[in-house]
C-alpha cells in the first residue's frame, strides 16, 4: 500500500515535466492500400519514437504492469533499457521471462493486462508496453545479433510436449534452459500452432514466428512435425520410449458449427478452415501455392471475436466487395479486441449487429447463395453476465451471400483423451487439471492452454506453459 502511494506521488512529481508527452502512435498502413495486401498493418516504432515512449514510464517501485502479465515480464526494466537506447539489452531482458516477445508485442490484449495496470492509465493513457515490447524484439531480430544463452548441462531427463503452439513453445523453452531433453511433437507440418494456422500474416508475419521457433531450436529443443500424438504415437508409448513427463498443449482446435439447415453447403467454411487455408497453406497466393480458397464477393462472417475479425479482414484482402460481421448481440458485448474492431471498421467491414443466421440457402450445385437471418434484441443477462440475445418474432430476412465463415468458437479435440486411458476430462471434453500447475489425473502428465481452459489468449496459454514447466521441474527434481 505504501509503495503504491509512493508511485502516485511520483506520478504527480513527474507530471509537471512530462504531461506534454502523449502516448506515441504507431504508424500503420493506409486502410485503402492494406486491404489489397497481406502485409502487416501496424508498422512499428522508430528508434526515436520508442525512446520517447519509453521515457514516459515512471519506473514504479511496485509495478502493477508486471502483476498484470501472465508471464511476469520485467516490464520497467526492459523499458528502462529502451529509454537509454540499449535496445538489444531490452530484448534480452524480455527474453528472460518471455520466449515469444515479438509475438506477444503484437497479439497480447495489453489493454486488459499490463497496460490496464499501468499507473499512467489512471489519469491519462498508459505506457504503450506492447508496442515497446514489439520494438525491442524486432530490433534484436533485425539486427541479426540474436544471442543464444550458453548451453546448460543436460540433467538426463526427457520431457515430451504435445503441440507446438504458445503453451508448448513456452514450456519447451523453460525446460530446455533447465537442462531437460525436450521434444515437441506437432501434428501439422509447421511449428507455431495458432500463431501459424490461425492469426493472419497482416497481424503476425509468419517470418517472426519462424524466427522465434528457430531460437528455441538453437536452445536445443527438438521439434518433430507431422506427428499426431494419439495417432502416430500415444502418450503411453512416449513414456515407453523413455520420457519422464509429458505436457499436453494441443489447443482447442475443433471447430464449432451452429447446426442450422444448409450449414454444410459448399463455400461455407469454419473459421479454422478458412484461416488455415489462407495462413498455413498460403492459399491467398494460389495458384503460386497449391491450396485453393474461395474468393467470395459477398462474404458473411458469423461471430464477434478476434477470430471473426481475422476472418472478415482476410475476406476483404481476398477481394470481397462486401465483408460483413454477423453478430447476435451488440458491439458492447463483442469479445473482439477494440483494436481489431477499429482496424476492421477502417477497412470497410460492415457490422450487422443483433442479427443471427437461421438457415443457409444453396443453388443447384450445392453452393451457398443466401442466408436467412433473424433480428435479435437484448434480454436479461445470461450466465456470462452479458445480456442474452432474444429473437424478434417475424423479423426474418434473407440476404445474398456467396461465402460464409462460421466463427462462433472452438471446442476440444478428442484424439488425445480418447487414446490416453484414465486421463480425465470435463463435460465439454477439456482436460481436467488439479490446479494451476497443470497436473492431470495421470502421474507425469500435465496439460495447459486452450485444451484445459477452452479458447483463450496466446499469453494465457504461455502462462500455463510456464506454470507447468515449474511443476514438471519440481516433480522431476524430486524423483
Amino acid at each position: 500500500m505504501k509503495n503504491i502511494s509512493a508511485d502516485v506521488m511520483e506520478t504527480k512529481e513527474t507530471k509537471v515535466k512530462k504531461e506534454k508527452v502523449p502516448r506515441q502512435n504507431m504508424p500503420e498502413q493506409d486502410p485503402k492500400k492494406r486491404i489489397r495486401n497481406f502485409e502487416e498493418v501496424p508498422l512499428g516504432y522508430s528508434e526515436k519514437t520508442a525512446i520517447i515512449e519509453a521515457k514516459r514510464c515512471i519506473q514504479c517501485k511496485n509495478p502493477g504492469c508486471v502483476r498484470g502479465c501472465p508471464v511476469d515480464v520485467k516490464i520497467p526494466e526492459f523499458i528502462q533499457q529502451i529509454a537509454e537506447g540499449r535496445f538489444i539489452e531490452a530484448a534480452l531482458k524480455l527474453k528472460e521471462t518471455n520466449g515469444l516477445p515479438a509475438v506477444c508485442g503484437r497479439v497480447c490484449p495489453q489493454e486488459d493486462q499490463c497496460e490496464k495496470e499501468c499507473i499512467l492509465g489512471k489519469k491519462g493513457e498508459p505506457v504503450a508496453i506492447g508496442r515497446l515490447e514489439r520494438f525491442a524484439a524486432d530490433y534484436e531480430r533485425n539486427s541479426g545479433k540474436i544471442s543464444i544463452p550458453p548451453a546448460v548441462k543436460p540433467n538426463g531427463k526427457k520431457v515430451a510436449v504435445a503441440g507446438a503452439g504458445p503453451s508448448g513453445l513456452t514450456i519447451a523453452g523453460d525446460l530446455v534452459k533447465l537442462g531437460y531433453d525436450v521434444t515437441i511433437y506437432e501434428a501439422l507440418h509447421k511449428a507455431g500452432g495458432v500463431l501459424v494456422y490461425g492469426i493472419p500474416e497482416f497481424r503476425l508475419p509468419k517470418a517472426i514466428v519462424e524466427a522465434e521457433v528457430e531460437y528455441l531450436r538453437k536452445l536445443g529443443v527438438k521439434i518433430e512435425t507431422n506427428f499426431v500424438i494419439g495417432r502416430t504415437k500415444t502418450i503411453d508409448e512416449l513414456f515407453a520410449d523413455g520420457f519422464d513427463a509429458v505436457f499436453i498443449g494441443v489447443g482447442a482446435g475443433a471447430p464449432v458449427f451452429m447446426n442450422i439447415p444448409g450449414e454444410n453447403l459448399g463455400d461455407i467454411y469454419s473459421a479454422n478452415e478458412y484461416l488455415t487455408r489462407s495462413n498455413l497453406m498460403k492459399a491467398y497466393l494460389f495458384p503460386e501455392y497449391d491450396t485453393p480458397i474461395v474468393r467470395g464477393k459477398k462474404v458473411a462472417v458469423v461471430g464477434g471475436g478476434n477470430v471473426a475479425m481475422d476472418s472478415v479482414r482476410t475476406a476483404l484482402r481476398l477481394g470481397a466487395e462486401r465483408a460483413m460481421i454477423i453478430y447476435r448481440r451488440t458491439g458492447v458485448e463483442m469479445p473482439a479486441r477494440q483494436e481489431e474492431v477499429h482496424h476492421a471498421k477502417e477497412e470497410g467491414v460492415e457490422f450487422l449487429m443483433l442479427t443471427n443466421p437461421l438457415e443457409y440457402i444453396g443453388n443447384s450445385l450445392g453452393r451457398v447463395i443466401g442466408m436467412k437471418c433473424i433480428r435479435m434484441e437484448l434480454g436479461e443477462p445470461d450466465a456470462s453476465g452479458r445480456r442474452s440475445p432474444v429473437p424478434i418474432k417475424g423479423s426474418e430476412f434473407v440476404m445474398d451471400v456467396d461465402t460464409v465463415v462460421v466463427a462462433v468458437g472452438t471446442m476440444a479435440n478428442p484424439i488425445i483423451p480418447a487414446t490416453t486411458p484414465n486421463l480425465h476430462t470435463n463435460k465439454w471434453g477439456y482436460i481436467s487439471t488439479h490446479d494451476a500447475s497443470g497436473l492431470t489425473s495421470r502421474k507425469g502428465i500435465y496439460a495447459g492452454g486452450d485444451i484445459v481452459t477452452g479458447s483463450a489468449t496466446v499469453i494465457l496459454a504461455m502462462g500455463a506453459g510456464r506454470k507447468a514447466a515449474n511443476a514438471i521441474h519440481e516433480y522431476l527434481s524430486g524423483k
Binding site: 512435425t225 471447430p255 469454419s270 488455415t276 497453406m281 495458384p287 501455392y289 491450396t291 450445392g366
Partner: protein, 279 residues
C-alpha cells in the same frame, strides 16, 4: 525421411509408391490414411495406406493422376523425398469374423479396398472380391487380390476383360441373385459406384461400409473441410471416418463438396501442364 523407395506404374494413370516411414509403418492398420505434402508450396492431400512393411519401415500408397499434386507426385523418382508425411490418420476398419463378406472396389478404389480384403481374410472371413475398372489396361492389383480372396470377380465397363458391366450390377447378378448369403459388404470407389452398391445392399438389408475421400486440410479434426452428413448428423471424415455405414451417408452432399474447387484445381493443373506455374 519420407524417401521414395519404390515406384511402379500400375496402369496408364495409376501409380504405386513405397515410402520410407518406420513410425507410420509400425502403427498403421487397415483403413487408415496419410496426409502428404510434396514441397513448400504444395497442398496437403489424403491417401489411403495400401500396405506396410514393419521390418523395412515402409508404407505403400496408390494414387491416380487427377490434378497438379498427383501429377507432381508421379513425376518424382526413387530416392526423392516428400517434404511432409503425416499419419496414420482416421479410424482403422472394424475387422472381425463376420462370415461371408463381399469387398467391392472400383478404379483407384481397388487400391483402397485391398488392405481391407487382406485384413478380413486374415480374420477368417470368406472373402468374395469384386474389382472393376473402365478397361483392361486400367485394372490394378488383380494378382494380389486374387491371392487374398476366396473368390475374385473382375469387371470392366467396356468388356475388354472379365465380365462386361459395372461392379454393382455384377455383384447383384453373380452373388445375390444366386441366393448366396452375404454378412457384410465393403465398397470403395467413385461416388456413383458406392451409391449403386448401397442401393442394392439396402434392398437386401446387408450392412455396407464405405470409405469416403472427402477434401481435407489438416485431417486431425481441426478444420471441418471434410464434413459429411451421416444419419442426419454432421461428421468429419478425417476423425469420425473415413469409413461409415453407407446406408446413412448423404452422397449428394459428398459429391457437391468434392466439386467445390473443380475450377481452381483445373486452373492449377493446366498451368502445371504448360509449365507456367514455375514448378
Amino acid at each position: 525421411m519420407n524417401k521414395i523407395i519404390e515406384k511402379a506404374s500400375l496402369s496408364e494413370n495409376i501409380v504405386k509408391m513405397v515410402l520410407e516411414s518406420p513410425v507410420i509403418a509400425k502403427k498403421r492398420k487397415a483403413g487408415q490414411f496419410i496426409i502428404l505434402k510434396i514441397n513448400e508450396k504444395g497442398e496437403r492431400i489424403p491417401l489411403t495406406i495400401v500396405d506396410s512393411d514393419v521390418q523395412k519401415g515402409t508404407i505403400t500408397i496408390i494414387f491416380q493422376i487427377v490434378g497438379k499434386t498427383t501429377a507432381q507426385l508421379a513425376a518424382l523418382n526413387v530416392g526423392d523425398s516428400l517434404q511432409d508425411l503425416q499419419g496414420p490418420l482416421g479410424h482403422p476398419t472394424e475387422i472381425a469374423h463376420y462370415g461371408r463378406v463381399v469387398c467391392i472396389g472400383g478404379g483407384v478404389g481397388v487400391g483402397v479396398v485391398y488392405p481391407v480384403i487382406v485384413a478380413l481374410k486374415k480374420a477368417g472371413n470368406e472373402v468374395i472380391s469384386i474389382i472393376g475398372s473402365r478397361t483392361k489396361a486400367s485394372l490394378i492389383l488383380e494378382k494380389e487380390i486374387r491371392e487374398n480372396s476366396d473368390r475374385l470377380i473382375v469387371t470392366t465397363d467396356d468388356g475388354s476383360y472379365g465380365i462386361h458391366g459395372f461392379v454393382s450390377s455384377v455383384f447383384e447378378q453373380e452373388v445375390l441373385d444366386k441366393g448366396e448369403h452375404v454378412d457384410r459388404v465393403f465398397t470403395i470407389g467413385p461416388v456413383p459406384m458406392m451409391v449403386a452398391v448401397c442401393k442394392i445392399t439396402k434392398l437386401h438389408r446387408i450392412k455396407t461400409i464405405v470409405s469416403l475421400n472427402s477434401i481435407m486440410v489438416d485431417a486431425t479434426g481441426m478444420c471441418g473441410a471434410c464434413r459429411v452428413n451421416v444419419a442426419g448428423k454432421t461428421k468429419f471424415t478425417c476423425v469420425d471416418g473415413p469409413e461409415f455405414d453407407g446406408h446413412d451417408v448423404d452422397f449428394d452432399l459428398l459429391s457437391d463438396r468434392l466439386r467445390m474447387y473443380c475450377d481452381m484445381e483445373r486452373e492449377a493443373y493446366e498451368k502445371h501442364k504448360c509449365g507456367c506455374d514455375g514448378n
